[in-house]
């Protein structure tokens, strides 16, 4: 027997397919948890990569963005297309929803045209069987000149057959095709003409792309490919050919190409697919009629959203508390490494700066995991598309997609998961607008500020309405800002607004948990890098320059903390800022607390506690409220809340905006614009209020 280790082969396989074709399920089935999520260079489209092994071959799988086509009109389609052209994968696995084959094969015809070795995966073949579809797989495989593997991704059926087919097809390599989409003799004649000129005048391009594919793309008026052509002669010939075809068919040539591709597909389907059951209306139509109902749709949606919210923040509160305790204990344990009572800088940096700062962010991890669990379930069942349909009527008016509502709602809990949640939005201007206005939704941390200030300044009867007012102000401003952004900086269509309503499906535990784990990991990575850095900077600002020990002699702990903060960099900045915030009705104390609030909104309360020397504000809210009552008028109190609501999103939000938009520019714009808006609005409110009250 031969026991020597055989030389391993490495192959690269791209996984392509329509959204909702079960592409991710197949990808997960093949790779398991051996995945790496990143971004395609320069864009914020997610790139998933994974590895698996079959026999002596190591297979690297790339999950291409889910697309219906391979035109140059959308970023995702361009990415998928360029990957296939530029990276030369050994083969492409095209995942097809077997129960919806005609539409799915449209992408296949374009992959065939690119002449890459191809394997077709007929996924969800169990559902197709239930619907009465009978495939003559051999015949279809012959017509499409690609091996076909039937799978049920959710049950892991077909994995070994598929891996075997991948290895074999990769071994065979590229082969020229006999069958191809025929576009009719008028178009074929034009294609031939263009091909021969291309071969003569653009040999480099032809070598890279194949002449037929180039000719098809040129006649389809594909911007990306047309711009590659240097030869004026070729350009002129193409323009003339397009004009001829346009007159002949009274239609844009690209539409004819699309029609003929569907013609090719329906020809193949008629030959090789039989439908044994005539199903006109299935259950899903009935369910859709209820879920997208004019009057019922909205209440049902709100109910689901309530459940998501409840799950994320109410159920999430328990593990959050455990994490808080864990970090608390970690802080005490680490602090105990130093002798009691000693004033040690490294200890303070470690305990207050790093453990406090990063821990304060990591405690939100349960919320993030639960939220993405809920989102994954909503998406995988197919409900998300219906929710978008229901909300679209309202969101459309402010220039946003129906789905934008979901992250905005999450924003009432915490902006950070909300911004991560905008990944459900495909359209970029839409997504960025949503990200930019999310901080205007009063998050949980701002609720702690309201909870401190409202009872301090307003009689019990006013407290409820006051809280409600704060939330409403945020929502109204969010709506206005979204509308303004969509009309100015982030113009563009509200997406084309054609969206597939995928069939209802049972989500699988595996898919949902993989999704959740990826999001959680991204969040943790952020906490360990950017947020760690900023926490350290803020710690320095709060603790330097140091106050000499003799200056603090005779003071109790609370008083000493007050003096330390006053003389720290942060306190000094607060004082220096005082003239700037005075028109808003704030003094230096509020100013200092506001700087602290940049780290996290709830720090505002803690900082006020230190400044008013009442120790831990959370433990004695009443004594702090009394001091605040003496120091400020209700109008000032209201203005403080207003400013906290609108201004400067916390560092975790800034970091997340940077990550999700891919640009510091947007994060800085968001921070600056919101702060400027907070300033102007508070200024107006304070001055008009002062005028009216006196």
């Amino acid at each position: 027997m031969d026991h020597t280790v055989r030389i391993k082969k490495r192959i690269t396989v791209a996984v392509a397919g329509n959204p909702n074709s079960g592409k991710s399920t197949i990808f997960n089935m093949l790779t398991g948890a051996h995945q790496h999520v990143g971004n395609y260079p320069g864009v914020t489209v997610e790139k998933k990569e994974g590895f698996c092994r079959w026999e002596d071959t190591e297979i690297r799988l790339i999950d291409l963005p889910g697309t219906y086509s391979l035109t140059a009109y959308s970023v995702e389609e361009l990415i998928a297309r360029n990957f296939i052209i530029e990276e030369h994968p050994d083969l492409v696995v095209n995942v097809i929803d077997a129960s919806n084959i005609e539409r799915n094969l449209y992408l296949t015809t374009q992959l065939i045209e690119m002449e890459v070795p191809l394997i077709l995966v007929f996924n969800m073949s169990d559902i197709a069987r239930q619907r009465g579809l009978v495939f003559d797989i051999d015949r279809l495989s012959e017509l499409l000149e690609s091996p076909i593997v039937q799978t049920v991704g959710t049950k892991g059926q077909g994995r070994d057959v598929l891996l075997q087919a991948i290895v074999e097809t990769a071994r065979r390599g590229r082969s020229s095709r006999v069958h191809r989409v025929r576009y009719g003799h008028e178009i074929e004649a034009e294609l031939e003409g263009i091909e021969s000129i291309l071969k003569a005048e653009e040999p480099v391009l032809v070598d890279h792309y194949t002449s037929r594919w180039l000719a098809v793309k040129l006649l389809e008026n594909d911007k990306a490919i047309t711009s590659l052509v240097r030869s004026d002669h070729v350009r002129r010939i193409v323009v003339a050919a397009i004009a001829r075809l346009r007159t002949l068919f009274a239609e844009e040539p690209e539409m004819i190409f699309a029609e003929r591709r569907y013609g090719f597909i329906s020809g193949a389907c008629q030959e090789a697919i039989r439908n044994t059951v005539e199903l006109r209306h299935d259950l899903s139509d009935t369910v859709d009629r209820v879920l997208t109902h004019r009057y019922l749709g909205l209440p049902i949606f709100l109910l689901f959203m309530y459940i998501v919210f409840f799950l994320t923040f109410k159920i999430g509160a328990y593990p959050m508390r455990w994490l808080e305790m864990l970090f608390g204990r970690l802080g005490t344990t680490v602090a105990a490494l130093w002798p009691a009572g000693a004033d040690s800088l490294p200890r303070s940096l470690l305990v207050d700066g790093i453990i406090g700062g990063v821990g304060g962010v990591i405690v939100f991890l349960p919320n993030i995991l639960l939220l993405f669990l809920a989102i994954a379930v909503l998406e995988d069942t197919g409900y998300m598309a219906r929710a978008a349909f229901v909300m679209d009527r309202i969101m459309h008016r402010i220039g946003l997609h129906g789905k934008s509502f979901i992250p905005m709602l999450i924003g009432f809990g915490c902006s950070v998961p909300a911004i991560m949640g905008t990944r459900i939005l495909e359209n970029r201007p839409n997504r960025i607008t949503t990200i930019l206005v999310i901080p205007l939704m009063s998050c949980g941390a701002r609720l702690t500020i309201y909870a401190l200030l409202i009872p301090a300044f307003f009689p019990p009867a006013w407290r409820g309405p006051m809280l409600w007012l704060m939330y409403i102000i945020g929502i109204v401003l969010g709506v206005i800002c979204a509308k303004v952004l969509r009309m100015t900086l982030l113009k563009g269509e509200t997406s084309h607004f054609v969206m597939e309503l995928p069939p209802y499906r049972m989500p699988t535990f595996k898919a949902v948990s993989i999704h959740m784990w990826h999001r959680g990991w991204m969040y943790l990575r952020k906490a360990g890098t950017v947020i760690l850095g900023i926490s350290i900077v803020l710690w320095f600002a709060m603790n330097f320059p140091r106050v000499a020990a003799e200056d603090l002699q005779g003071m109790d702990n609370d008083h000493a903390a007050q003096v330390r903060l006053e003389r720290s960099l942060m306190g000094r900045i607060g004082r220096a800022m005082a003239p700037a915030v005075r028109p808003l009705g704030f003094d230096w104390k509020v100013g200092t607390a506001l700087i602290g609030a940049m780290a996290a909104k709830e720090v505002f309360v803690a900082q006020l506690g230190i400044i008013y020397a009442v120790g831990e504000a959370d433990d004695h809210p009443e004594s702090l409220r009394e001091r605040l009552q003496q120091a400020y008028t209700p109008l000032q109190g209201f203005c403080i809340m207003l400013f906290c609501l609108i201004s400067a999103p916390c560092i975790a939000t800034v970091a997340m905006t940077r990550q999700e938009t891919g640009r510091w520019r947007w994060a800085l714009f968001q921070w600056t614009a919101l702060t400027a808006m907070a300033y102007v609005i508070t200024l107006i409110v304070y001055n008009i209020g002062a005028l009216l009250l006196h």
């Binding site: 919806n100 009274a250 539409m255 899903s284 084309h496 607004f497």
Partner: protein, 89 residues
């Protein structure tokens, strides 16, 4: 011969947005601009395709079924898709 295989003059051509729920229509032409045309085509909406209206709730978007797949269509988009009554097949 009419190369598109359609003879729209004989039938009444109207925008898809006017089709009532439960009715089926045939696409005659799509005038939504290059980018939207391509998007619609990739989802199965090309001339000569049958479209059935699942729900058409004024004034919002509508749900249609094309080639066995359901999709939501914005009203503005549906205005640009011209259809005629489906010929019985």
């Amino acid at each position: 011969m009419d190369p598109s295989g359609l003879n729209p003059d004989k039938e009444q051509v109207k925008p898809l947005s006017k089709v009532k729920a439960g009715q089926t229509a045939r696409v005659v032409r799509i005038e939504a601009g290059a980018s939207a045309n391509a998007r619609l085509a990739s989802m199965g909406l090309v001339p000569r395709t049958q479209v059935s209206m699942i729900s058409n709730g004024h004034p919002g978007p509508m749900v249609v079924s094309v080639k066995g797949a359901k999709m939501m269509l914005g009203r503005g988009m549906a205005h640009k898709i011209m259809v005629c009554a489906a010929s019985p097949q």
